[in-house]
């Protein structure tokens, strides 16, 4: 595992916290249209961006995410 990581080019791990009603729908539409999005983005769906606690972002960064995208 470690060897694999060393050989590979570094890619940032991005957590995307997205709104159910807009960005998630957009990502879904992209999927339906067979457009790929990079696998280093992990999507978390929330009912509304108002649901996001600033702690979610800090915790994501603390536990190893390189970036957090909040969209919605």
């Amino acid at each position: 595992m470690a060897e694999n990581l060393a050989n590979k080019e570094w890619v940032p791990k991005i957590v995307a916290i997205v709104c159910n009603w807009c960005t998630y729908a957009g990502a879904d539409l992209a999927g339906i249209s067979r457009i790929q999005y990079p696998p280093n983005v992990r999507i978390i769906r929330v009912p509304c961006t108002g649901r996001i606690n600033p702690f979610y972002i800090v915790k994501a960064l603390q536990t190893g995410a390189d970036g957090v995208l909040v969209s919605g």
Partner: protein, 335 residues
């Protein structure tokens, strides 16, 4: 100064005798030389203990909030018709009145529940700076002579100009006179040096990201998470702080450095538009963490974005609890 002490005691005694306040929060001489400590006075005779000098450090607004909320909690067990109101008197300098304004704006208590005795302030002595000035020697005796402090340590006697020992936030203080007061004691104090307020921060902002991150991690490594900063801060009054929450547990209880960073980061973020720069957190920190650098940076950002200084007037609502369609939003496009 003698004169102010005398007037303060008279005023305090009068307020307690006339029952305009149930308890008065002030400062009394501390047990160590060159210190003052908060005290709670309910008996008019005890008003003689009160002092006001350059060693009065803590922001007393914290205790106003504590006493009022404790009293309210205790009144819940009393029949509604027997409930009593408690009025708290407080000796307040500029930053203390700013905190009280913030509490009032955040609807923590009513204006009729607090009586403010305003005192002019020329800054307080930072215990850590004083200790550094006497090379960490044990202070055994001390007195103030005009602009100088005569300090007797175990090694010898030293004269220190008071200005060298003042806390950083006092040197560049903009609000050293009470903004809100029911009774004002003494004359208005001369202004400090607010023009230099952000000089230190601007220098810090100009450093490259790596250096700023290195500074942050270096400071946070000192932190032992005793939560003294939170306990002393008048703006930190949540009944359950996020560090004590267990569902979900936001901050781990171990000694992981990232948990310490998360605690400090979140406390800093809770201070957006609410920090009055009283320096209480830095003064109580046993490890000497430079909390003020980060708090002041947030303060600068809030001022630039919302043209607001926490608690600077009753009319000006805290920036994060109001909406204005003209609020700047360019950070959205150009972060």
């Amino acid at each position: 100064m003698e004169n102010i002490d005398k007037k303060l005691r008279e005023e305090a005694k009068r307020l307690l005798e006339e029952k305009r306040v149930d308890v008065l929060i002030g400062y009394e001489t501390g047990t160590l030389p060159l210190t003052a400590t908060p005290c709670f006075i309910t008996n008019p005779e005890d008003a003689e203990k009160l002092v006001w000098n350059a060693f009065c450090t803590q922001n007393l607004a914290k205790f106003v909030h504590d006493l009022v909320s404790q009293h309210r909690e205790s009144q819940k067990r009393v029949k509604p018709e027997d409930r009593k109101k408690k009025v708290v008197g407080v000796v307040a300098r500029g930053c203390t009145t700013r905190s009280i304004i913030l509490h009032l704006q955040e609807r923590q208590y009513g204006r009729d529940e607090v009586v403010i005795i305003g005192v002019p302030c020329t800054g307080y002595v930072d215990r850590k700076r004083l200790s550094a000035l006497v090379n960490g020697e044990d202070i055994q005796e001390g007195a103030r002579e005009g602009d100088q402090l005569v300090v007797k340590t175990t090694v010898g006697e030293k004269k220190i100009t008071i200005k060298d020992a003042l806390a950083g936030n006092c040197l560049t203080c903009r609000f050293n006179n009470p903004i809100l007061s029911d009774v004002m004691i003494g004359e208005q104090a001369p202004p400090m040096n607010p023009d230099q307020e952000y000089v230190e921060i601007e220098a810090f902002e100009n450093l490259p990201t790596e250096e700023r991150w290195a500074y942050f991690t270096k400071e946070m490594d000192k932190c032992i998470r005793c939560y003294a900063c939170r306990q002393a801060c008048p703006s930190c009054y949540c009944k359950t702080c996020f560090v004590e929450q267990s569902q979900p547990q936001w901050v781990g209880l171990g000694e992981d450095t990232t948990d310490t960073q998360v605690f400090q980061l979140m406390r800093l973020f809770h201070m957006v538009g609410r920090c009055v720069d009283c320096g209480s957190c830095s003064s109580v920190c046993p490890m000497g963490v430079d909390l003020r650098k980060f708090l002041k940076k947030i303060d600068k950002d809030v001022f630039e974005l919302f043209e607001n200084r926490a608690g600077s007037s009753m009319e000006d609502a805290p920036p994060l609890s109001r909406f204005n369609e003209h609020d700047k939003e360019d950070f959205t496009f150009n972060p």
